[in-house]
Symmetry: C2
Subunit: 225 residues, 2 copies
Amino acid sequence: MINFEAFFKLTYGLYIVSSGDKNRGGGFISNTFFQVTAEPPRFASCCNKDNHTAQLIQETGAFSVSVIHQNTSADLIGRFGYKSGRDFNKMEGMQVKYGETGVPIVLNDTIAILECKVIQTIDVGTHWMFIGELIQSELLDDSKEALTYLYYREVKKGFAPKNAPTYIDKSKLEQKEVKATAKKYKCTACGYVYDDAVEKVKFADLPDSWVCPICGSEKEDFIEI
Amino acid sequence: MINFEAFFKLTYGLYIVSSGDKNRGGGFISNTFFQVTAEPPRFASCCNKDNHTAQLIQETGAFSVSVIHQNTSADLIGRFGYKSGRDFNKMEGMQVKYGETGVPIVLNDTIAILECKVIQTIDVGTHWMFIGELIQSELLDDSKEALTYLYYREVKKGFAPKNAPTYIDKSKLEQKEVKATAKKYKCTACGYVYDDAVEKVKFADLPDSWVCPICGSEKEDFIEI
């Protein structure tokens, strides 16, 4: 038997994994970035094959990682976590520097950065696992705590987006958080609350094409609170 | 430039990864266990090629993962994290159940378990990365927090052992924690403190073969506090 609740006991950080170049950059929020060997320092990053950033990593053979802090803005998470880089250049308007390989490195809300050159690409099914050799790493702010998946889920009430390795179809979980009397709906990406009591249109009556006014997440990414 | 301090901003859990069978089991403390795809649920575990458990995983084609809680005993961490299963059967005296594949699953201080069948073995240098398809998972105790590498490092003052993907040669770090006046030494595995003031022999004069009386860690695993 598989109990999906067990998955929530696994610990992950949340990072922005970026790739591309000065003309066209992309990035996504990843919870599966981790060190795989100490000598030499090598890291792995797991990326959905449909992700625009996966394509950029394959084209450039490199990626960067920004470790973001706990109070990262909902806007940043919405931009990198719940929108596709196919639709717009995610690096536009961001604080970005470019690494030795030419990939963009996001600096907003970032406490540490790492830059890796891909040495191996592994097909693990729906995702690519990129193994990268570390080229550079930098500690930018030692005073802040790194954002973790647990913090994002428990404090910020966020869920993993569909392309994440840890995405869980909510119908598989017991619906203990949903109360029959509730009339408020929260964006699982950015935390924005839609309150039926103060809106002209009830949430249930909003069209499927409606998106979160803050981060652009889809209607189905909202949960009743 | 590579700043190793940046590595400490990456978030990991700490797990017991086990393999073997009823006659001979083994396990090690791992901080690199993570989900790589959601459909089907697949997980990866990174294991030093020298680890006895790596050999057992290759022989059985399966492994289990025990998510241990924050107040896990130092003895458990010492047993699985800093000793080799070549020297003794680590499962002896433990609360263990056996999975569908026959691998042992450690239950001591455990809040969730997962069992995986290996579908891919990747050579990432000093380590093997085993990709496993999930066979079963169980939530055993939802009331406790999972042990994280950060908690182990900051609260319990532990360091990664030599075979860990995240092992850092302490000489590469700034020695800010070491004070010239200090005369106490702490085991980085279990937290045991050796106090020169109350012992007959000064820590510095102990032979290199001396080991921690609590968890068996080597003298070099102690740090001045």
